[in-house]
Amino acid sequence: MATTIDNPPRTDAVRGRSERTARTGVGPLERQRRRMFWPFTAPALIVYAVLFIAPVGYALWTSLYKWDGMGAMDWRGLQNYTLLFRDPRFRTSLFNTLELMVIGGTITFVLSFALTLVLREMRAKLFARSVLFFPSLVNGMVFGIAAGFLFSPTGPVNQALKLFGVTTPPKWLSTDNLLPMVLGTLVWTATGYYTPIIMAAVDQIPDYLYEAAELDGAGPFQRFRHITLPCAWDVIAVCAVLWTVSSVKIFELILLYGGSTDAYPPVSSWNTAVYVYTEAFPQGTVPRLGTATAAAIVSLAMVTLITVVLRRLLRRDPVEY
């Protein structure tokens, strides 16, 4: 659409454009557009600056102090950061965040691709997609609360397993199984979320490509590898970034699966989000806003870095069809 306007050299001669405009290379529409650029983007930029950049800047500043939110702020410099990295609890939190991101992401996308493979050729696929999407509509907290009932030793899950002859089911709700349970719930909801998005891209791929491949003797997996994957690559890359960003946000699931009425979840199951929360809203003591914001800044830096690297790695020339 924009190409005919942004590409003056080809049209200049035909349209007899004047020397002056040809020299600046800007047409009237483009000039108008440039004039309108700031009035239209400024409000968004202001909102962005006030609601995002300023708080992040303020967090950065706070992270250099020791502060309880009420009294005076004591200058600490980078000491909050060095303390964070010496705290084995924070290192575990970082590791858990990465574990949820990488393992959860891998399983989610493998499942999504498998479902894409099946769903493309299946009847009633719209219905199947709705069913898959449904879990992501439900608030994560519902799973956390329902789990206590579903997975209790005499609960419905174990009753069902008994029908299949499993007499010694795992202790689902024990502290050891906390992260796997969180991971399971996460994969379940995320698969339902990303599969329809990837499927929407797959639906745009013309059928003749698949038909041609079939005639050439390609099986379902080869069709997936040589047609679906390259043609839907842009969407998959965006999904991967979305997943990375959202996996760092996981918070309420850990709190609900692992927390009790009196205590936070076991410290070995914390991710950086929970770590920040416990520092900022501790039980029975003043907040440690310096370390809380330092931890938040570290995880922001981490997710930014990973997103940039991921974008680089996933960059491909778009396939046109």
């Binding site: 000491q79 303390l83 410290v267 501790p282 003043v286 914001t293 938040a296």
Partner: protein, 432 residues
């Protein structure tokens, strides 16, 4: 991007608001005088308006307004109040009066020097009773509290007292025959547990996910052995864990775990699964705060009779206070103090027992029938804070998970003690 920054920006957003408000209020503040406000004040409550405690407080406030003409602006804030009070104080927007448990009042305000010393309230007369407040509220409840930076432990005036104990159904024949009289030493408790096991009943129902209630056994045993948990937790070298009494207490807890005295499946359920099992008679004892009686009131079978004991050898019962506090920056502190004395009148404070079914600090107000035992326990000459007041992030970062691993039988007593010692050393190294 990411929940971390959401929470961060929440914190920071709040902090920004606080900073702005500070800047604004710095110009406008100046202690308001009571004369101008006519004895009126603002009150933020930890209760929601539909809770019974709120009803008792509301009735007293109406009475206070009728008697003095002072207007009380109430916000029924609920338990989030502990998170809101700090930012509110920083922004000079704090109420003149608020209430919470002693640990929250200390942790969020008093420890930072932001709570008013309420010693003058103790000298105020309780209206219509002609005695000072200090005579109706036993001094032992203040003596157990940690001191704030100015050396005061009168930053909270209690109107409700809570304790933690092993609760049981006294009319259960299996319990009655296993425990003809309360055991006086640890071996005695184990004997009761053995007798219960022989009768096919588990000794202890435990919410295995919850470190706090389960660690109360260890806490009471340490108390019995003369170990102060606050001092234990404050030792930066971790050497306090080498005290043989600590290992002995852990080994006693281990006897419960290894002896099979905890209800089967306790390590694979979530609250309130085991509380329900306990009321269904599947186990004899359930360690919790005395609010458990109100929690299970609707599910206990007919003829249920609540009684309680402390783990044998414990020297002093736990006490938790719920009471009034006044921020140091409150503008109408005198009016709020007057109301505290007003609420402590027998006729008003009784509502905490009759309406809210809880225990008051006044010994002349009888506790609800199911808490009679607990009130008797609290008559001990001295009381203590649970974990001797040790708290903050020491619990989640040092004790809780190590204790759960131990309580679930994954580690031995010796391993548990060694792990706590090691984690405590790194904990203090990273506290700055």
């Amino acid at each position: 991007m990411g929940r971390t920054t959401v929470s961060a920006s929440r914190v920071v957003g709040a902090a920004t608001a606080v900073a702005l408000a500070l800047a604004v209020s710095a110009c406008s503040s100046g202690a308001g005088d009571d004369a101008k406000s006519g004895g009126s004040f603002t009150y933020w409550s930890m209760w929601r308006s539909d809770e019974p405690q709120a009803k008792a407080l509301k009735a007293a406030i109406d009475d206070f307004t009728a008697a003095t003409g002072a207007k009380v602006t109430i916000t029924w804030a609920g338990r989030d109040i502990a998170k809101k009070i700090g930012p509110a104080i920083a922004a000079n927007q704090a109420p003149d009066l608020w209430d919470e448990s002693d640990d929250k009042v200390y942790g969020t305000t008093a420890s930072a020097g932001q709570a008013l010393d309420l010693s003058p309230v103790l000298q105020l007369q309780v209206p219509e009773e002609n005695v000072p407040v200090s005579q109706v509220i036993p001094a032992k409840y203040f003596d157990m509290l940690p001191k704030d930076p100015s050396g005061s432990n009168h930053y909270v005036i209690p109107y409700e007292v809570v304790t933690n104990a092993m609760f049981y159904h006294a009319a259960d024949p299996a319990v009655a025959s296993a425990m003809p009289s309360p055991p006086t030493d640890w071996a005695g408790l184990l004997k009761v547990c053995d007798a219960l096991k022989a009768a096919g009943k588990a000794c202890i129902a435990s919410e295995g996910e919850d470190p706090w209630t389960n660690a109360l056994y260890f806490d009471y045993l340490l108390n019995g052995a003369g170990v102060n948990v606050a001092q234990l937790s404050a030792d930066k070298s971790g050497a306090a864990w080498d005290n043989p009494a600590v290992l002995t207490a852990a080994q006693q807890v281990e006897q419960l775990v290894k002896g099979g005295h905890l209800i089967p499946g306790y390590d694979a359920t979530k609250f309130p699964a085991q509380e329900t099992n306990w009321t269904a008679g599947k186990a004899a004892f359930y360690m919790d705060g005395n609010y458990v009686t109100a929690e299970v009131a609707k599910q206990v079978p007919a003829g249920w009779k609540t009684a309680s004991i402390l783990p044998p050898t414990a020297k002093a019962p736990d006490a938790g206070l719920i009471g009034f506090a006044i921020p140091k920056r409150a503008k109408n502190a005198a009016a709020a103090q007057k109301f505290i004395a007003f609420f402590l009148q027998k006729k008003h404070l009784s509502g905490i027992s009759t309406t809210a079914l809880n225990i008051t600090p006044r010994t002349d107000i009888p506790a609800p029938a199911e808490l009679a035992d607990v009130q008797k326990t609290l008559e001990a000459p001295t009381v203590r804070l649970s974990f001797d007041g040790a708290g903050g992030s020491w619990l989640p970062k040092v004790l809780n998970e190590n204790y759960l691993d131990f309580w679930h039988g994954k580690t031995t007593a010796a391993q548990f003690v060694a792990k706590c010692k090691a984690d405590q050393v790194t904990y203090w190294q990273t506290q700055g």
